[in-house]
């Protein structure tokens, strides 16, 4: 599909926390964007277009924020667009920016995603202002139970994922939750929010933003730091509800994964991917996506958790950044996966760097697990071939 290579040459994110009352909404996005520009050693005037993403407007109660943010993002007189695909939006926003470069429409594109949850009430927004809101966890909980029943996974798998991601987050200074004392016992004994999901198996509510600068091959060669090359992109969607839908392993997620593997030339994801940042807002989604994206066989995803494969030191590290379980500025959560995968293959992830990470997979999902966005990034254009 791509007519020319695209690469990430700048990455910036805010410190994610419960409430960023020191900055306005435009201030928050500008902070992340400025850091991405600094990383790329570019100025606002070097940017050709801006692509912005966030989750539904009722989460903050600020309608069409892309209009009022044009100033803060230096977009006056430039193309600016806003992307929206529910929770996967951060991923699809990054992909739209990528495609603008790959197709040669623009040379340098700034992409930004954010959420400032403390400015509003996401639970109110999700419930449409009505009583009896289920929350996202209430929708996903029965699907997790089905996964547990079908796969025969022991109940401590969810707790293990919750502990692993929080331990990883302690190595990531930008992560919202830093819980050095996290333990299986604490997760297990935390209140049950949506049976079978405990409080500590759920994502926090965060304020935060993330930004990336994407450019073409010529731009990447001029970049001051190592680029992360985009080796494949894919988006897929399906209906959120229909009779006979496989909610545990949605077809759109399976097809999206195969599309991105094919685009990147990946024939064996488990062997050829060095690190994955997957959208795991509730612990059980780690084994569910490992199977739902054919990284593990049916009923094998939880075994990868159990045997430590997905630990930062394992053979298939998942969410070394701490993931959505540790920081959840909803609209930014998907792009954070994409940015973190890029940081890993650039070798710039700091304390949570995975050794010898050359091929990274990032995934975001949204709605009733019905929108998927993925990319594969590499330390070089032939990073996947080098593994064959």
């Amino acid at each position: 599909m791509s007519s020319q290579p695209a690469a990430v040459i700048g990455i910036g994110q805010t410190k994610h926390k419960k409430k960023r009352d020191d900055v306005s909404l435009p201030g928050l996005v500008r902070e992340a964007a400025q850091r991405a520009l600094d990383d790329a050693e570019l100025n606002w005037t070097d940017i050709d277009a801006v692509v912005l993403g966030k989750a539904p407007d009722p989460f903050e109660g600020v309608m069409m924020p892309e209009l009022s943010m044009a100033d803060a993002l230096g977009a006056n007189g430039k193309p600016m667009m806003r992307v929206h695909t529910a929770g996967s939006v951060g991923g699809s926003t990054a992909l739209v920016a990528t495609h603008l470069v790959q197709t040669g429409v623009h040379e340098r594109v700034l992409t930004v995603a954010y959420e400032k949850q403390a400015e509003g009430n996401a639970q109110w927004g999700l419930a449409g202002g009505r009583s009896g809101g289920m929350g996202a966890g209430g929708i996903f909980a029965p699907w997790m139970r089905t996964y547990i029943n079908k796969s025969g996974a022991p109940e401590d798998i969810g707790w293990k994922v919750a502990v692993k991601d929080r331990q990883n987050a302690c190595k990531n200074p930008y992560a919202h939750l830093h819980l050095p004392d996290i333990s299986i016992e604490k997760v297990k004994e935390s209140p049950m929010l949506w049976d079978p999901i405990h409080f500590l198996e759920s994502c926090p509510s965060s304020d935060g933003a993330v930004a990336m600068v994407l450019t073409n091959e010529a731009g990447a060669k001029k970049a001051p730091r190592k680029p992360a090359w985009v080796l494949g992109t894919a988006m897929r969607s399906e209906l959120g509800t229909f009779p006979g839908r496989d909610t545990v392993r949605p077809l759109a997620g399976v097809e999206c994964a195969h599309m991105v593997y094919d685009a990147a030339g990946i024939t064996n994801p488990r062997e050829q991917i060095d690190i994955a940042e997957l959208y795991v807002p509730f612990s059980w989604y780690e084994p569910m996506w490992l199977e739902g994206h054919d990284i593990a066989g049916p009923g094998e995803g939880w075994r990868m958790v159990e045997d430590g494969s997905t630990q930062i030191t394992g053979d298939f590290p998942v969410n070394p950044s701490g993931g959505v379980l540790s920081s959840n500025p909803i609209g930014a959560s998907g792009m954070l996966r994409f940015a973190e995968a890029a940081l890993q293959v650039r070798g710039e992830a700091g304390e949570h760097q995975v050794a010898d990470a050359h091929v990274g997979l990032a995934q975001a999902y949204g709605g009733a697990a019905q929108y998927f966005a993925m990319w594969v990034v590499g330390s070089s254009l032939d990073a996947v071939d080098a593994k064959k």
Partner: protein, 202 residues
Amino acid sequence: MTDAKQPDAKQPDAKQLAAKQEEAVDPSAPVTGMDYFMKLEYHELLCPVVREFADALMDKRLIGHKCPKCGLIYSPPRGYCPICTVQTTKADEIEIQTHGIVTNYTVVTPVQYYGQEETEPFAKVSLQLDGGGTLSLQDLPGVPVEQVHPGMRVEIVWAPDDERHVDDVTNRSWGSAEGAIRGWKPTGEADADPSEYSDKTF
């Protein structure tokens, strides 16, 4: 115009507002934000097939459309099968049975957002109805949450004639219609075999 009347959006409650003000007790603390309540009132016209679903509810009937190509049953009907991309019409309308199996459930611990009236954990269930058709987000009033489990056989509890309404039926409904269906009650029959429901989560 035959659209359902929408209930008034909730006005800010004086008590809740007062409680909010109580929270800000430190007069020396800088003001970093303030609550701003919005209200958006709109009337949604029901599309014709959903209108028929709503009218049937008022007659204590559940209807759906059966796709002429793949046989999947949609209730509420959509007027098309999105999988086969074929139109469905009145000719494809079928009566859905009002008893079936609980295929899955969630117990929700209510978050106290503005307008939330639930204070105790409550269950929502997915149903596979006998003869075909599925409904999501249904209530089992009076059933203790710890007794809710997949395989329970249940039957419909209609709202009484003088209280029944379809104001909450929307074009995006997943089958919830609390104004017409009070919920579902266990029939007391033996649980269904797990093979009949274990793959049906919706």
